[in-house]
């Protein structure tokens, strides 16, 4: 089993919310051409969407299914392009474990809570949650506060954690961490 590498993104929250609202409206209307356009699908995928009983059904089956996997990939590609900007990627597979279990971090309740939020996929839109992935989201103020608090512990933290602290502190806006986008 391989451990994943975490990537930090800057999130354009209003743009992501707008995309989410467009997707929702399209699915409610069951507007296949609009969905194909929104997800920038090629002709073959657009035809697959056209032939589904309902557009929403395509997102209710496991995303690993061959029929829908390209659709999910398109959706995530569009979301990334619209609202996420890569800031930094860790080169250490041990970063997630350090964040979740390192004593020095866990003993600080405010830090532990913010880290848990940054690694809790429930805070991500449903279409940014591939099965088995790690990811989460912090608002601008929470990101900034976490970076400051962790920076004060820097001498006691491993290098891979300090690299994340530096990236968190060096960016602006909302932060999203993910290992599978």
């Amino acid at each position: 089993m391989s451990r994943s590498l975490l990537t930090l993104y800057r999130v354009d929250s209003p743009r992501l919310a707008e995309l989410s609202a467009q997707l929702r409206e399209t699915l409610i209307r069951d507007d296949r051409p609009a969905l194909a356009q929104l997800l920038q699908l090629g002709a073959e995928l657009a035809l697959r969407v056209e032939h589904a009983p309902r557009a929403v059904d395509l997102f209710l089956v496991p995303e690993a299914e061959a029929d829908v996997a390209p659709l999910w990939a398109s959706l995530r590609r569009v979301a990334k392009r619209a609202a996420l900007e890569r800031v930094w990627t860790s080169d250490s597979p041990s970063l997630e474990g350090r964040l979740r279990a390192y004593d020095t971090l866990r003993e600080e309740p405010e830090i532990a809570e913010a880290i848990d939020r940054l690694l809790d996929a429930r805070f991500l839109p449903w279409f940014l949650r591939p099965v088995g992935s790690t990811g989460g989201w912090l608002k601008d103020a929470e990101r900034s506060a976490l970076a400051n608090r962790m920076e004060s512990l820097a001498p006691a933290l491993p290098d891979e954690v300090n690299a994340l602290v530096e990236a968190l502190g060096g960016m602006d806006g909302d932060a999203l961490v993910h290992d599978r986008l």
């Binding site: 989410s20 699915l27 309902r54 929403v56 059904d57 997102f59 209710l60 089956v61 449903w126």
Partner: protein, 231 residues
């Protein structure tokens, strides 16, 4: 407050539901010449399934007696026992049960379960609105929409559920909507089973009867409970 006790309105009891010995009392002849319920000894493993089987066999009095022996004063058993008393026109037993039940119900959970089990579309929408007023979370209301027989409403509901709780949406798609290729999501199955079990029991019991009980608990006379012949 759930689990709390308050005096009955008439001061004749402490608001507690009849317990098993009270259930024995129900088998004694009562005023107005109502015959006692038949004596039923619940086996240790008796469940609501047994009650429903008796009802489906037309043995309503035995079903009521078994419900009385199973009832611990809380949850769906207490609700169905009161609904059965209402159905039988047994005002005496109903008067005993309602004060305690009114401390627990109507809850948004039961109201939505009844809404999900009922066929009449207008009644269903009215109950859904009531559940919203009682604090039903968005995912619960979306679920109800997803179960609608109206295609438009169902699609709107399952999309809303996907955005509110994708794991539950996938589970509902697999279990209730038979979407080809959909499979149950383990993150949602416990929540699904809890709600769906209650809905299915209410449906088998008779959703309209339980809806009438909810009306009584809200102290609003049910349209369906009006004597026949009224307009």
């Amino acid at each position: 407050m759930l689990g709390g006790r308050r005096p009955a309105a008439d001061g004749s009891a402490d608001g507690k539901p009849p317990n098993k010995s009270d259930a024995k009392a129900l088998r004694r002849p009562r005023k107005e010449g109502r015959p006692p319920l038949p004596e039923v000894t619940a086996s240790p493993g008796a469940t609501l399934e047994d009650v429903l089987a008796l009802r489906e066999a037309g043995r309503l009095d035995e079903a009521r007696a078994l419900l009385a022996s199973l009832d611990k004063g809380r949850g769906l058993r207490a609700v169905l026992r009161a609904a059965a008393a209402l159905e039988a026109g047994d005002d005496e037993e109903l008067a005993q049960l309602l004060p305690a039940l009114a401390q627990q119900e109507p809850s948004w959970q039961l109201t939505l379960q009844v809404a999900a089990a009922i066929d009449d579309l207008a009644r269903r929408r009215s109950l859904a609105g009531e559940a919203d007023r009682l604090g039903a979370p968005p995912w619960a209301s979306a679920w109800l929409g997803a179960l609608s027989k109206d295609h438009e409403e169902q699609r709107r509901g399952i999309v809303a559920l996907l955005f509110e709780d994708a794991a539950l949406a996938r589970t509902v798609a697999a279990r209730d909507l038979a979407v080809a290729g959909a499979i149950v999501d383990n993150d949602a199955i416990a929540r699904y089973a809890s709600f769906a079990h209650g809905r299915d029991l209410v449906r088998r019991f008779g959703a309209e009867r339980v809806a009438q009980l909810l009306d009584r608990l809200r102290e609003k006379p049910s349209r369906a409970a009006k004597p026949s012949g009224t307009t």
